[in-house]
């Protein structure tokens, strides 16, 4: 994969970072510019498009009714799926989800689920029989690095934007009525990903940096600044000190983003 030219480039990226600098002028702890647009897919119950630098993710939320899981009869169902659509990168291939898209979906899912973002008991129509099923579909449209943070942000923004159909129960059957109510939410987790290069931690690695880092760590932070999900990735390692440092930075950055994003 990594050709000779790329190796030179990777070296350059690493050298700069050792000096506390980055190729695109950012400081080690800086995010790229973030833009969020909500409600752009009118046919979906909720949607949001996030631009994180050139990384572009569209999330659509569809709501259907279905059966609850047998072990949680009094909760609605949340399903998160991610598609690395091939127009987003020459490295993405059409076909069933691979380990990267599955990991992406599951990491975003955990951030939402573990922070108890959805008030899933309010999604029950008939306990044990009929509940709302919330499909969160992550659609990566342009891959320029740090898909996890962009997708997590777009997913929460889309959920905030989601409307549930009104309904009434008539003769044991669910009838959809006119009008909508807001999807009941209790938390808005923000996920912060850090990469490690030569022992240095950088926030929000972009595509070329992702090839240079030996490992990454993603932390979902809830509204109170607590950690609600972590995923280490990549074929390198962190020292315990680096992990605690990453947790500290993530908490700080999440608070910062929380103020900045207007959703």
């Amino acid at each position: 994969m990594s050709s000779l030219i790329t190796r030179v480039r990777l070296k350059q990226i690493a050298n700069l970072i050792e000096k506390g600098k980055r190729l695109d002028g950012r400081g080690l702890g800086d995010y790229r510019e973030i833009k969020i647009q909500q409600g752009i897919i009118e046919k979906a119950e909720g949607s949001a498009r996030v631009l994180l630098g050139k990384t572009e993710v569209l999330v659509g939320v569809k709501i259907e009714t279905g059966e609850p899981f047998p072990d949680t009869p009094n909760e609605g169902v949340l399903t998160v799926n991610a598609e690395l659509v091939p127009l987003a990168s020459p490295s993405f291939e059409a076909g069933p989800p691979d380990e990267n898209s599955i990991e992406l979906a599951r990491v975003v899912d955990r951030g939402i689920r573990e922070s108890k973002a959805l008030d899933s008991e309010k999604l029950v129509i008939v306990p044990g029989k009929r509940v709302f099923v919330v499909f969160v579909d992550i659609y990566v449209l342009n891959h320029d690095g740090n898909l996890i943070d962009a997708s997590a942000l777009a997913a929460v923004a889309a959920l905030r934007n989601t409307k549930m159909p009104n309904y009434e129960i008539e003769n044991d059957e669910v009838k959809i009525k006119q009008g909508y109510t807001q999807l009941p939410m209790r938390a808005y987790p923000i996920t912060v990903t850090l990469g490690k290069i030569n022992g240095k931690l950088i926030v929000d690695p972009w595509l070329e940096e992702e090839e240079a880092i030996d490992s990454r760590i993603s932390l979902a932070i809830n509204d109170e600044g607590n950690i609600c999900a972590i995923q280490k990735g990549g074929v390198g390692y962190f020292t315990p000190q680096q992990i605690l440092e990453a947790a500290r930075i993530a908490k700080e950055k999440a608070a910062e983003l929380r103020k900045k994003v207007d959703w």
Binding site: E42, K43, K62, E83, P86, L87, P90, A94, F135
Partner: protein, 247 residues
């Protein structure tokens, strides 16, 4: 869930969205919207929202599909799960597989495939929101993605449907007209070559109605063709400006 309206065309001959029978829906086209693709375009055609990208000419995988005397064109038409009323499974449906084929066959006549033997070009189309006529809007966008990628072409391909609603032959059916109407005739053309590269039909039409529908669709394609050229020009100007700034 959408209820069947009583009348698709009112007494004044206007349609549900106020269009005349020979009027296109509003169309917005942008070229060069994706940074990783070799070429790309985004189209809003009515409420359809569609992204198209082209990659290539490049080495093909798997290699045994390579042809010694020409480029191989591949095409995937795909709908986002949230693009339609009921969530669509992301696995390709039979409809998507058929449309991928007819769209590829609508574009290929425009491409000088013999210029780059032993290479492949991949066209990826993602329907982000669907509202009737996605195959036509996809072709319109994909032709621009190919041009934006610098693939040598005989002409652009512009596409538009005509059909029959009630007793009237109308241009550019939207979703509700497609579902309730009595015929739909999607058409793609290379305007400069007087060449029809896509033609399908659903419904029942007499020979006369069919002729009227084909002619109306071709007129629509020509209007879209003008917009395609505008969009390409805008892209060209933007790239030029960028380059001048860089210099």
């Amino acid at each position: 869930m959408s209820e069947k309206p009583e009348k698709l065309i009112d007494k004044k001959g206007l349609r549900l969205d106020g269009r005349r029978s020979d009027e296109l829906r509003p169309i917005k086209i942008e070229v060069g919207v994706l940074s990783n693709a070799d070429g790309s375009a985004y189209i809003e055609h009515g409420n359809n929202k569609i992204l198209a990208a082209a990659f290539g000419p490049r080495e093909m995988h798997p290699k045994h599909l390579t042809l010694p005397d020409r480029m191989v064109l591949r095409c995937r038409y795909h709908m986002a799960p949230f693009s339609v009323q009921e969530r669509k499974s992301p696995a390709p449906s039979r409809r998507e597989i058929e449309l991928s084929k007819v769209i590829r066959e609508a574009l290929e006549p425009a491409v000088f495939v013999e210029y780059y033997p032993r290479t492949g070009v991949d066209i990826f189309i993602e329907v982000l929101q669907a509202d009737g006529g996605t195959r036509c809007a996809s072709i319109t966008a994909a032709a621009l993605a190919l041009a934006d990628a610098g693939i040598p072409m005989r002409d652009l391909v512009a596409a538009c449907a005509a059909g029959k609603v009630g007793d009237t032959v109308v241009l550019d059916l939207m979703d509700i007209e497609d579902k309730v109407g009595s015929a739909d005739v999607p058409v793609a053309i290379m305007p400069n070559l007087n060449a029809v590269t896509l033609l399908q039909m659903d419904g029942i039409l007499t020979s006369e109605e069919f002729e009227a529908a084909v002619n109306l669709a071709i007129e629509g394609c020509k209007k879209i063709y003008a917009m395609q050229k505008e969009a390409l020009k805008a892209r060209y100007m933007a790239v030029k400006q960028e380059e001048e700034v860089e210099e």
